[in-house]
Subunit: 278 residues, 4 copies
């Protein structure tokens, strides 16, 4: 008995749920959880089916492929293999620390392959958890040169996802294009408010009464990628910009961990510039 | 073309989703939204299927009945008919007012048949909205006598649901038994904290930092019925018990309206002492 | 015995609290609540002092004026007089309805002098509460002509505040300048996200996971005035733009009522483009 | 120039703020932040005054003592010395981990003197941060014997506070009495709901739609001590008891860290069974 997850993402058509669930039934696979969603504005169908049983992947997927319309994407994910991530950081420790701790105690089901920093600040923290830290200094390097070094390290680990845990440099289109829908960033504002640099200082000057954080997939448009999770915290006039920075940390780390958890559990579909989370 | 909702609630079995969705497909009914849930601890299956098409209710339900295991409940709800409610009140206006306003502007899809008060306080407000108000004074009457009068009025309207919008009297088992899973109450605490009378005063004396409200179906155990919705609000040491009463009003009315909205959209299954909301 | 509120807003200086509270003590005025705040980045001092006693306003304020540095603003507010508001609306009823209901049952301590609509849609609702409704049609009029008519009506009531309860037209600088820090608007996004028109549709296309509302004083920069209150609500991929509009209503009305409540209780200081709420 | 905090807690009297702030002014101490609160139901006055200047503690406090009525408590806290804490744990790592991480990166201003566990599970995690871990096995010992060993270790560090970070044993009255208002516990429910053991399992069986956590000072009445902070998280019917346990972790750790932060910044007054947080 194994557990696998069938992910289906295709143009909507009559009888899709019936066809897919029939195939599961025919293959004697038990549906543990099933969630589906149709975006009626665009006519796109999404389904996530957790299955228990004895799988013959080839025949099962052959049947599924015959049932789905043209232009479908489907994937059968084995839940036994833990997802591998590489984390990129600069100097701030709270998001990295939260992921390290949750991976350590098992509440986040990931294998942290390595941490890469453009500063050396977080090497000591990372190494406490027996995880390799790579310091790739960006000083004196062209942006592309720096990224080339980072890419070499990332690719040596073949990670499923790259997590920007307060990595404070803008990535080039080349870098982003190399890892489509595989780079997850935490932005320290409730996007699309306060795009760009120093969002808490922007928030302070605007006099807002809530601050927030956004976890999103990285695309070439700065802070414009598909949003995975967002949350906020109330502030008031007594908060300086620095107080907002401090108050925002718990929101940032919780939003990033939560987004990452949903991604590695294969619950997140990217569709255009949005996410569907089943 | 009509829209109907098929509600299914039965012991879990292999192939249920496939069977039900096949029948929909065979009857050329298009699935607009589908949500299902299996409680694996008890092996109970729940499904809510919104369907568009031309319905032959008899043949469709005959097929469904043959597909379902023994002990199943199923219901095919016509979305054309607006649900009728009777509201019971005492003196406080905020929950009644919110429902009146939302029914008036269409954001809550109900028909308010009547309001019944054991005080006359809210007659004027009710009548502003051209809804009959029945004042049934409880003074000088035995509890059963009072309820008999209320029952006569309720039954004359044949409502789908009875909403206790800050009705401050305890109902007898006889009354409750007459309307199983049809009476919705708002309790002014985040149950099970502060069961019983004057929960804000209890909260004040306990020194809590959050207050809340709970909408639930009424059963014979005081404040113990299946919970539909809950929400909270932060308070601090500056709040007197009266300040908590005032601060709680927005939470109470929002929780009650939200619960009522989910109930009248046929999203709420009662299962044992819990709700499943699809 | 009366209750009055002393509001002080001045450059910070050593001993300010001591001086002001000494004067209160000397005049035998009892401090019921006192809140102060110093913005250390700009050196501005704010204090709100609720006082009980027998007031000789002239001698008390003469003492206060001597104690305060140059450039100070102070105000002694009589809590006996209920603040008067005029509400401006277009077609949506939820914010108007909430204010009408809260003024009716006393949970919002205001006198609604009149409602002005550029459509006639909300006349019937307003008049249920025996409040005059003025329909000022904007069709066929220049913007200034329309506003002139509105100004005449507003000024005939001499309100303390003008509340834009989903009034969907942009006001001219002339209009805004006439009522500095007296116009309160509800914007249906968590500003500064989604400035301008159709914010829920913008939010839908951006794929956000939270929507929100912002109550702010109106200045000449569209949606850029000092923020009084903000709140948010979680949404997900199943929300259409219309669902977001509907889901946002409870947030909008709660944020606007809450902001208005703080303003009429004289808790809100405007300072530059921000508010200090004591 | 030093910064100190004057904490005053006494029966209310006319002119108290004036007297205290006058004394600060006379001693040329600059008030950086001042917060006061009067509980009018009991006539108790609380004030927290952050002061900058050159302090002569003896003469300053002598003046303060003469100004305050009988039965007053006052304290002048030096902000230079970081508070020391001892943390007690059992097996769960998330609350300990959050405090370790925040102390490590400076976002929580405490010195962790030691961690004491009745299991050895968290020794490795603690020692990563170069903090002594004491394993005091409770097996085969009377409760008092076990506590005697713990007391010896605690007292050897002379901590300001003892933090129960998911310490799963009930403490005896003797132990509690030894550290009045110095023991801070995190309880994994929004008290007073679900007092006692296995609150998430209680919550699951009750079918609640929110779960929460409460940080409180420990007194002899189980889970009845003064509440410092509370927060909640929404859940739904899909959450098993184990899912609630997992979902609650982020709430628990955030509430405990936040409470601890307020306590070590000397913002929390205990008054009867409540807290006043200034």
């Amino acid at each position: 008995m194994e557990r696998k997850i069938l992910l289906t993402d295709c143009p909507d058509a009559q009888g899709l749920i019936a066809k897919i669930t029939n195939i599961c039934y025919k293959h004697q696979l038990n549906i543990i959880h099933n969630n589906e969603y149709v975006d009626h504005s665009t006519g796109q169908f999404f389904m996530r089916t957790e299955l228990d049983g004895i799988f013959n992947d080839d025949t099962f997927l052959m049947d599924i492929d015959q049932a789905l319309p043209a232009g479908s994407r489907r994937n059968l994910v084995n839940t036994n293999r833990r997802k591998r991530i590489v984390i990129m950081v600069t100097k701030e420790s709270h998001c990295l620390g939260d992921i390290l701790m949750k991976a350590y105690d098992g509440s986040l089901d990931v294998e942290i392959s390595a941490v890469i920093g453009n500063h050396n600040t977080l090497a000591a923290l990372t190494e406490k958890f027996d995880i390799p830290f790579h310091f790739v200094n960006h000083e004196g390097l062209e942006r592309e040169q720096h990224e080339d070094k980072v890419v070499d390290i990332i690719d040596s680990y073949a990670p499923d996802y790259i997590v920007l845990a307060k990595f404070m440099r803008v990535l080039t289109p080349n870098f982003v294009a190399r890892y489509p829908h595989k780079i997850i960033n935490i932005h320290h504002s409730f996007l699309p408010a306060f795009i760009g640099a120093r969002p808490y200082h922007q928030a302070y000057h605007r006099g807002v009464k809530i601050i927030g954080a956004t976890a999103h997939f990285v695309t070439n448009d700065l802070d414009e990628g598909p949003i995975i999770d967002q949350n906020v915290k109330h502030v008031d006039h007594t908060f300086s910009a620095e107080d907002m920075v401090k108050a925002g940390r718990d929101v940032e780390k919780t939003v990033l961990s939560n987004a990452l958890s949903q991604v590695v559990e294969d619950k997140v579909f990217v569709y255009g510039n949005k996410t569907v989370i089943l």
